[in-house]
Symmetry: C2
Subunit: 337 residues, 2 copies
């Protein structure tokens, strides 16, 4: 008899037979559940080794009604939003925490109609044990899906509107306030804000922090100069700012990408940083260190954000009800302010 090509994987039943025990006993032994004698436990282990048995996760999932996976869904208008290194760091944290709970990570970029439809299906079909949701915008359809879904959902950063039950966020207001206060403390009196998308809670919160700080210092906040968190948008916003308020001497940018863009515009315009204009960013990504001059920026613990989101999700999946978490930020001073 020729060996028929990719021979089927051994099943638990075969393991049981080889070990001379029942399927039930084999199953219990495998999941080291109680009520299995030491002898049978060993017999099963031997059979597993001999057969090279690996449990079939799909079958297990069907029987237990648990998929063994958690999804990270990132919203956005187009997939390029995900190119921001921010998400990569979130993933590093989330992946590590999920690994500890022995869950797989599914990544969904809900950045097209097709993508959103697939996420909806994921929710409705319970295709994962839980979901982490990020980068939501105002009136984001994902919020509705999450509400309807009978599935654990943890938000990364609050969505615009009422706070969800479970979320992990960063102290955006506090960070922005600290950055602006720093600018003021360095003697800047005409400080502007290049803010992120105002249809995101992060964008709004950071502008709020900026405004609060200025008001508290008895200075006049400028109206928000909106960017979209990308480098080019920061460069453009800075150009507008320069045109309308030639006398600005300080800029708080809602993230490092935009701050880097501002730096570029400033360089082109011949303004010295920080001598003429001081610039502060937000995020503390690699770009902040590489920029010239290196950016003074608000550090946020991005990997921790991912890690805590995942941990919180696992807690919820296990039937508990954790309280939301707000991670601290801190100002890192370099040379741009």
């Amino acid at each position: 008899m020729a060996e028929d090509a990719p021979r089927r994987q051994p099943t638990l039943a075969e393991v049981a037979e080889l070990a001379g025990v029942s399927r039930s006993a084999a199953s219990r032994a495998l999941n080291d559940a109680p009520h299995v004698s030491r002898a049978k436990r060993e017999a099963v282990a031997r059979a597993v080794r001999q057969l090279g048995y690996v449990p079939n996760p799909t079958a297990r999932a069907l029987a237990t009604r648990q998929t063994g996976a958690a999804a990270l869904v990132v919203s956005g208008e187009d997939p390029s939003i995900f190119a921001d290194p921010f998400f990569a760091q979130v993933i590093v944290g989330a992946s590590t925490a999920l690994e500890e709970a022995d869950l797989h990570l599914m990544l969904c970029l809900a950045a097209s109609d097709r993508g959103r439809k697939r996420v909806e299906e994921l929710f409705r079909s319970k295709g994962a044990d839980g979901v982490m949701l990020m980068a939501l915008r105002e009136d984001d359809p994902l919020v509705g899906m999450a509400e309807e879904a009978e599935m654990p959902v943890v938000f990364g950063g609050r969505p615009v509107g009422p706070a969800p039950r479970w979320y992990v966020d960063v102290d955006n207001v506090g960070g922005a306030r600290e950055a602006t206060e720093y600018l003021v403390s360095r003697g800047r009196t005409r400080v502007a804000a290049i803010c992120g998308r105002l249809d995101t809670e992060a964008g709004r919160a950071r502008y709020r922090g900026y405004r609060d700080a200025l008001l508290a210092a008895g200075l006049d906040p400028l109206p928000p100069q909106e960017g979209d968190f990308t480098e080019p948008s920061g460069a453009a916003a800075m150009a507008v700012l320069l045109a309308h308020h030639p006398d600005v001497d300080g800029v708080f940018a809602a993230n490092d990408n935009m701050a880097a863009g501002a730096l570029r515009t400033l360089r082109a315009a011949g303004r010295a940083v920080p001598a003429d204009i001081a610039v502060v960013g937000f995020d503390d990504l690699t770009v902040a260190q590489v920029a010239d001059p290196p950016l003074t920026t608000v550090h946020q613990p991005i990997t921790a954000l991912g890690r805590e989101m995942a941990r919180m999700l696992v807690t919820v999946i296990n039937g508990h009800d954790p309280t939301p978490l707000i991670l601290p930020t801190r100002l890192v001073t370099r040379s741009s302010a």
Copy 2:
């Protein structure tokens, strides 16, 4: 009767009953397979809508022996390797292509023993329909796992050693050669290389390209000054270079991160770029545009790399045998050289 809490999802059997057809017919209608009358097809559609039915992917997976997911596995010694924005772009491409094939994306960072063990289990248990493998190092245990796995595996970038059956790579040698030739064409005669990890094929290939170009121009290549693709390692390598070869007038760095690091060291050492030393990078990530001076660099189509990997994987999953693909690079000249 109180409505019992999270009422079980409707099953296909219930849909069939409501529609007055058999489970088989309902199944066929759902997957629009042939042999279903128009009338029944519509009845099923109506029942589906009325019940809010969504098929259970796990059950389907068990029956069809297809998981409906593809995994992207990123190797590395620790998870931080993934923080490189390079991977984020790969994911954007892969995710888009996978979406078209209606496959989910599982992300596995094989950056710890635990992580590698989970990948091995994934392979052995056929926990995905196929795998994309990246960032392999010499003697990487993942290569062995991939070989033994009876599962479609597409490599992103070739591993060190014999070329695998299916891979998508970038023309590393050609790109490095072009970069170096450019340096030579600008009159540089003492050109050094800050190369990436030499236990990766990309690191080796780029050094080879550098060496080939110099040899062809009748100049002497310097021995490889090895970094690990990170910014600090580039800064450190540049410092060593400056100490041992104070007269270098050109540097080819194997990626933008290291080039940015080199720039930093050069700035600290008071060397003008490109006047005293010209610098060329590789990748063309955002950092290249933000660096000061903006980096002349070898652009590689990263999103396309991800997209083509995913497409190739889908092709293999569908039973075909595509040929490996090598994507072109091109030099983008900015101000650093």
